[in-house]
């Protein structure tokens, strides 16, 4: 009797304890859920723009919470209060409506929503303004299936790792060479689509430099095909001094190793990788020399594959998907697997890569544009610089092509254009690069390549 009683009591106590726990746990859980977690959260802004957005979000969120509580409370009250009771035969009053109530619950939400548009539009116009001025750094962003290219005003290019100085306005001018992507670093700003054939802008501004090894992660937010999930990138916020140092480092061409295992790696690199990848190295004459194709991809001045000049400095590869061997706590495994058979660790379809053959007449205009742009960049010292000599040769070849065309010799025209294209690094339209083929490198070659890349800091 006593034990039974105690057991029942204990059961009661534990039930009420559970209830109390639930009462406290539920709101705590909701609050915990609402505060941002993780490095990619939008709820823990790290810059003024993201903070403005977050402030607006919090305003709407709490208004929504109030409306939610009021409406659901009315519903629950009605359900509990007016439920059918077996002992009562209450006859409900047949209410058909009430015009005054209808007007009230039309006008109040309308006013509330109209009120919300004011801060919305204010913030909208503020954050959409394209920044201008001498202090603004403009970086070109090119979306590729499935990686990011960043072209700096100083003339170098990086892939998948963006460095920006703290407390500085950075204007991203973005376009795509293939399909629509979307650039998103939740801690610094909302997302912005990267659309082929158009240029969109996004402003980044960060309060503080990111601690070493903890850059802000970002990723593509518009479905862009097979490896959309693995189209990630990192944003490193540097102090002004660190940023200057980083720029100087990036401007330095990579050295060509002459001995040891890295030299073997360079042989493989020059034989295989440069089919698509670029690297700016110190040429034999001591001047910078660009290896690999340089030029336009589907009408956009862009790389065909990530620039590897300073691969040794990066902490990730495969578009922010894997750690490089020299990143903190990482091993060589992923990079080895990647060089062995990239498709085994990141989805891609190199079998669908397309670089169409050049035609004569329809390609003229584009080659012309590519040449013009190349000359312009060379004169202004921007982008990938071609030597005077190369430009001269291209120009001659192009004039030849036009002459052959006028003579009706299509074959010679194509030949001349083809040669000019190769020198210029011009890549014809409808180019599609969806992955890196399996080149059948053996383990020694892979080791050598890794040694080379590790040295290219």
């Amino acid at each position: 009797m006593t034990t039974e009683f105690t057991a029942a009591k204990r059961k009661n106590v534990s039930a009420s304890r559970w209830r109390r726990l639930l009462i406290w746990a539920a709101p705590a859980l909701v609050l915990a859920a609402c505060s941002g977690t993780g490095p990619q959260t939008s709820l823990d802004p790290a810059g003024p723009i993201a903070e403005k957005i977050d402030g607006l979000w919090l305003l709407v969120f709490w208004i929504a919470v109030v409306v939610f509580v009021l409406v659901e409370a009315a519903l629950v009250y009605s359900i509990v209060k007016f439920r059918e009771r077996p002992d009562s035969d209450r006859r409900p009053k047949q209410l058909h409506g009430n015009t005054r109530l209808e007007i009230i619950w039309t006008i109040i939400p309308a006013l509330l929503l109209a009120g919300l548009t004011v801060p919305t539009l204010q913030t909208l116009f503020e954050i959409r303004e394209v920044p201008e001025g001498p202090d603004v750094i403009t970086i070109q962003v090119v979306g590729h299936q499935w990686w990011w290219e960043f072209q700096y005003p100083e003339g170098f290019t990086t892939a998948n790792e963006l460095h920006i100085p703290a407390d500085t306005t950075v204007n991203l001018e973005m376009t795509s060479v293939d399909v629509i992507h979307s650039f998103w670093v939740p801690k610094l700003n909302g997302k912005r689509d990267v659309v082929p054939g158009r240029m969109t802008n996004l402003t980044l501004e960060a309060y503080e430099p990111t601690p070493p090894g903890e850059p802000h992660p970002g990723q593509c937010a518009e479905f862009c095909g097979l490896a959309h999930a693995d189209m990630r990138f990192k944003v490193f916020v540097d102090s002004a001094a660190d940023y200057e140092a980083w720029i100087a480092q990036q401007m330095t061409p990579a050295t060509v190793p002459t001995e040891g295992i890295a030299a073997q790696g360079y042989d493989t690199f020059a034989a295989v990788c440069v089919a698509c990848h670029n690297a700016t190295v110190v040429g034999e004459d001591g001047n910078p020399e660009v290896l690999g194709p340089v030029g336009y991809v589907n009408g956009v001045y862009a790389d065909l594959a990530p620039d590897l000049t300073h691969f040794g400095e990066r902490s990730t590869f495969g578009s922010g998907t894997f750690d490089t061997p020299w990143a903190d706590g990482a091993t060589e495994d992923h990079l080895r697997q990647w060089l062995d058979n990239p498709a085994s660790i990141k989805p891609m379809s190199p079998e669908r890569n397309v670089i169409p053959p050049i035609g004569c007449v329809p390609e003229q205009e584009r080659v012309d544009l590519a040449l013009e742009a190349a000359i312009e960049r060379t004169v202004e010292g921007e982008g990938k610089i071609l030597s005077e000599e190369t430009l001269q040769t291209v120009e001659t070849l192009y004039e030849d092509a036009l002459a052959f065309e006028a003579l009706g010799d299509q074959e010679a025209c194509v030949r001349a254009l083809e040669e000019a294209r190769q020198l210029l690094g011009y890549i014809p339209d409808r180019t599609l690069i969806l992955g890196m083929p399996d080149f059948g490198l053996d383990q020694n070659e892979i080791t050598a390549l890794i040694a080379l890349l590790e040295g290219w800091e």
Binding site: G36, G38, P92, K93, T106, L124, D178, R192, V195, C224
Partner: protein, 629 residues
């Protein structure tokens, strides 16, 4: 001979056998066909979602490859939107529309059959893709130029043609519904006496007719880009990928209301019945529905706030999006007003309707946060959006349709569904639904993008993804309970009788299931909720008063009556196999288009079959044998 046939038809279910279903033009059978197809596709689409959830249950999931994942999430979206929720709307509208307005069938019964078969073959086309090299993998929205990028793989060709097909079926059905509602109402059934469900069906039909041609044009452009060398969406040829987004969402946003309005109509029928009160603010609910229909065409670009339209356009669409919340709010307040001071009976249809309101409020509020453009640039294409539209389309539309199934199942089959299983179904589905989709709000705000087949460790997404997957298992169990309930009740359910819920509208005046011709005598309607007025009235203070049953309580029912030897001939359409033949011909010819140039032979064959069907249809008499009541 003729007399013998009609006697068979006098039974409530009509002739049986596969052939009778293939050739049926009876709106009730076509409604059931839509419903059963939707249920089958619901199981398929649900399994697709379940695999997606399994893959995402933890970081770096390995259940699916990226390719398989992309196919499954694409087909899950397509299936749930076009092959489940849309046909559910068509199912209820088909079955109930003529009965609720006192008609014997729709205006064009053979066109109705044609609509169903076109829909059916559209679904088959979409799924055929799996057999010939994988399902569509470019997202249900098929954004160009991704959807035109790889033309050697025909997956997105099946997508373009399958959707085109489903569109044709819906346009034909909508024209039919509009004609029926506008011309075939029983005497006295004025527009403002129509059940709200019929009003919503009317608005939906207009939305379909005006929105589907827009995506039709876009789909042709994509198909032509893929197959015939046009350059509509090729950026380096000055084609504009954003044009596709405008065309798609100018269809796609009205589509959202196409999905939700029929469910809103159902809830507006269920709530009064189980509250023993008329719908609060009938005319406001109706006009709010119409307002949603109009406004629905003015908000499409809120799907494109990150595409770079410029702040002026974004400001305009932000404002219009906020305003569309007003009529939606009016509906919610009126539903709560309907339950207020009523006597609420918590039968399963009522539970699902109340669940609909509770969940739809959440979806509506998160929708308003999308109108805040700067905040939307964080939410867009993240799991927050996935949470939002599931609260609207699952917590909203699907809860509403399930309420409808429990409510009208007795009318469709003559038997009640099990209340016990129904309650299990409701509570499991409510719990599973919230477990699955509530965490997605948090995931999205914490930066998790949609349509990603895997995510790395260290971003803090594992816990809530785990919970969501757990929730999806609970939803799966609730689905099994539902299916078990349907199967069991179909055979062994309690006999329903004509009016099991104490209903208010005309469908409850006839036997369950109804006779082929619905009404022996076309009813004469004197009130909104006419049947209720035959049973009840109000006293001077507006309280409910039960009327004395007229002559033993059965005479109010206009079920089959004994006419003695005097048989009255009425106009009822005869079965026809031409609709299915025409639809089949069109399906064959479109498959041929994908495999040009050789496929043009298939197309030619298909066109001949279609022409045969259409000619036969044109010259056959609409009624081959006299039909007697």
């Amino acid at each position: 001979m003729a007399v013998a046939t009609t006697e068979v038809q006098l039974t409530s279910t009509g002739p049986s056998g596969l052939w009778s279903w293939l050739t049926t033009v009876d709106h009730k059978r076509i409604g059931l066909l839509y419903g059963i197809s939707a249920l089958v596709f619901f199981i398929v689409g649900g399994l697709e979602a379940f695999f997606v959830r399994l893959q995402l249950s933890g970081a770096n999931g390995t259940v699916l490859s990226a390719d398989a994942y992309n196919q499954l999430f694409t087909m899950h979206g397509l299936t749930m939107v076009f092959l489940v929720v849309m046909p559910l709307g068509a199912a209820f509208t088909n079955y109930l529309l003529p009965i609720m307005i006192g008609a014997r069938d729709v205006a064009f019964p053979r066109l109705n059959a044609f609509s169903y078969w076109v829909f059916f073959f559209g679904g088959v086309l979409l799924y055929t893709s799996f057999v010939v090299g994988g399902g569509p993998d470019g997202g249900w929205f098929g954004y160009a130029p991704l959807s035109i990028e790889i033309t050697e793989v025909v997956r997105m060709d099946y997508w373009a043609l399958g959707l085109q097909f489903l569109g044709v079926g819906s346009i034909a059905a909508s024209a039919n519904f509009i004609a029926t509602i506008l011309t075939m109402r029983a005497p006295g059934m004025t527009l403002m006496r129509m059940p709200v469900f019929i009003w919503m069906a009317l608005v939906t039909a207009f939305l379909l007719i005006f929105s589907l041609p827009i995506i039709g044009v876009g789909l042709f452009q994509v198909f032509f880009d893929r197959n015939f060398g046009t350059l509509f969406y090729v950026s380096y040829a000055q084609g504009d990928p954003l044009l596709w987004q405008h065309l798609f969402w100018l269809f796609g946003h009205p589509e959202v209301y196409i999905l939700i309005l029929p469910a809103m109509g159902i809830v507006s029928e269920v709530l009064p019945t189980f509250s023993r009160k008329p719908l609060f603010g009938y005319s406001f609910v109706v006009f709010a529905g119409i307002a949603i229909g109009f406004q629905g065409f003015g908000v499409w670009s809120h799907h494109m706030f990150t595409s770079g339209m410029g702040p002026i356009a974004e400001a305009g669409f932000a404002t219009s999006t906020m305003l569309i919340a007003v009529p939606t709010g009016i509906k919610i307040f009126n539903w709560i007003g309907t339950t207020w001071d009523g006597v609420l009976r918590f039968k399963t249809p009522m539970l699902f309707s109340l669940g609909f309101i509770a969940m739809f409020v959440i979806g509506g509020l998160s929708g308003v946060t999308h109108a805040i453009v700067p905040a939307d640039t964080q939410q867009h294409d993240s799991y927050y959006v996935v949470a939002h539209f599931h609260y609207v389309l699952f917590g909203g539309a699907l809860f509403g349709f399930v309420a409808g199934v429990y409510y009208w199942f007795p009318k469709f089959t003559g038997r009640m569904m099990s209340e016990t299983l129904g309650k299990w179904h409701f509570w499991l589905m409510l719990a599973g639904f919230n477990l699955t989709f509530a965490p997605m709000h948090i995931l999205g705000l914490n930066g998790m993008p949609r349509r990603t087949y895997r995510y790395p460790e260290g971003l803090g997404w594992e816990f809530w993804n785990g919970i969501a997957t757990l929730g999806s298992a609970v939803i799966a169990i609730s689905g099994l309970v539902f299916i078990w309930n349907l199967i069991k009740s179909r055979k062994h359910g309690e006999i329903a009788g004509p009016d099991p819920w104490d209903g208010r509208t005309l469908e409850w005046t006839i036997s369950s299931p109804p006779p082929v011709h619905n009404f022996d005598e076309v009813p004469i309607v004197q009130h909104r909720d006419d049947f209720w007025h035959q049973k009840y009235t109000e006293d001077d203070d507006g309280y409910l008063v039960e009327l004395e049953p007229v002559s033993g309580g059965t005479a109010v029912l206009t079920g089959p009556e004994d006419h003695g030897d005097e048989r009255k001939e009425i106009h009822m359409p005869s079965p026809s196999y031409y609709p299915i033949l025409s639809a089949l011909g069109l399906a064959i010819s479109s498959i041929g288009l994908i495999y040009q140039p050789v496929g043009f032979i298939i197309t030619a064959v298909g066109m001949m079959v279609a022409l045969w069907g259409l000619f036969g249809w044109a010259i056959e008499p609409s009624q081959r044998e006299p039909y007697y009541v």
